[in-house]
Amino acid sequence: MRVIVTRDLVKRYGKVVALRGVSINVPKGITALVGENGAGKSTLIKVLTGKLKADGGEFKVLGTSDMREIRKKVGIVHERISLPPEVPVEFFLTKIAEMYGIPGKKVRETIKLCGLERMRNREIGTLSFGYTKRVGIAQAIIHEPELIIADEPFSQLDAKSKINIRSLFYELYKDHGISFFISSHNLYDLEQISQHFIIIHRGKIVKEWEGMRVESILIKSENNEKLKDYLKQQGYNARIVDMYVSVPNRGMKDVMSALLNFEGEIYEVRTASLEQIFKEVAE
């Protein structure tokens, strides 16, 4: 089952076209949406969550395009966590849970899951940025959504908070079966937890793939030019990217066996990182 399906989504801001016929198929699991500033990531998320109305195309989230249904089934983590600062954490989460008819026990579980036990009686406005993000995540998961749409959940967080939130997302996916659609510039964090990747560039989807491990193999040798020519002779679509020779769309085993007959030193063979793939696509 696909959690998000869009067909030819178009969104304009006056003369500027932010989405130019975006079509994506997001499966269950954790999906990363990557793109430069102004590529259309936040616009796409705003359209999917009903904050903006699309000018064209159609979309379904969890099989429906009824925004009321979507809001019931989906949790949203906004880029900027904006919660009433005067209200204590547990009180706020309890009231949100009551809106969905969720019992108090679930609130305590969510507080524990998000590591907010020590902060439960603190007013939201007095929390650090990292803890505020956690409250933002807690309010998004309190009604046990099937999908969480998160816009820049790692932004402005210190390293420890990033790791914690990344682990929390993965735990929610693994243990609770919640799917994620995450837009972020933090490629390393996305790479650690995602199984499905989408690259958006100037309002268009330029690449969408599942599982990055077979996406591209990077090889560093004593003579990259020679290695590239050798691999091309062997029928591989090799090209030089930075300090590496990149071989796309081939498995590790396949490339390794081809390298066995290469006359020259090989220093490193590894799968491409999301950052490298993003860079290749963007270029």
């Binding site: 009903g50 900027r80 009433p84 009231k95 949100i96 009551e98 969905y100 309010q139």
Partner: protein
Amino acid sequence: MIKKLYEIEIRRFYKFEKIIIITVAFMASIFFTVLTFPSEAQQEWLLRNIKSILNYLFVILGVILPVFSQSFFGGDYKQGIFATYLSYPLSPVKIAVGKLSAQFTYYSLALFISLLLFIFLVPYPPEELLLIIAGVFLLLFLLYIITFFSLIFIKYQPLPQFFTIIFFFLIFYGSDSMSPQWYVVNPISFLCDFLGYGIHSSQALMYGLLAVPFYAALFFIPYIMLNRMEWVRGGGI
């Protein structure tokens, strides 16, 4: 849903804010009573005092408070709290109702305490007094709503808000000099005179009834003028 949002919003008032609201309202109540009742010589004087006091109330509670609460709403909108609320199964109307209900709770409390001593001491028959109080409540809430929603269109700029307050002051304190048809711009004066003197002229009654929409329309004149001024819109001063 609205009830839950109301509970969140009502919690957003800090304790000291609640104490300030109650204290100020109670002091206002004493102030109004002391101001009104020493000059008890004639019914006409008493009525004039009452009218002035109600005008004070009208301006302070009906205009300044909605300006403050609207700024509070504006702050929420800018901070994205509205956007967060919209991610729950709440429509924009439900959010507005939930938030306004919380504001109205304290607004009503302030209004009631302000009029408390006045209600006990005013020498009107109970049914007439009840009519006055109901009328004052109705008009103040109407004014609150008009002011509140009109200010949303000004896009939370401080200068237009300041001019709006000045405009209201002019309306209320200049209205008496606009004889003989000042009912048109001052519904509270009409209400007092209607109850105090028993004005039964159909023309006056019509003016009185038309006062509120007319008054709302008048409000939009400075609004449109101010909104056209780029330097105001850009917050350039």
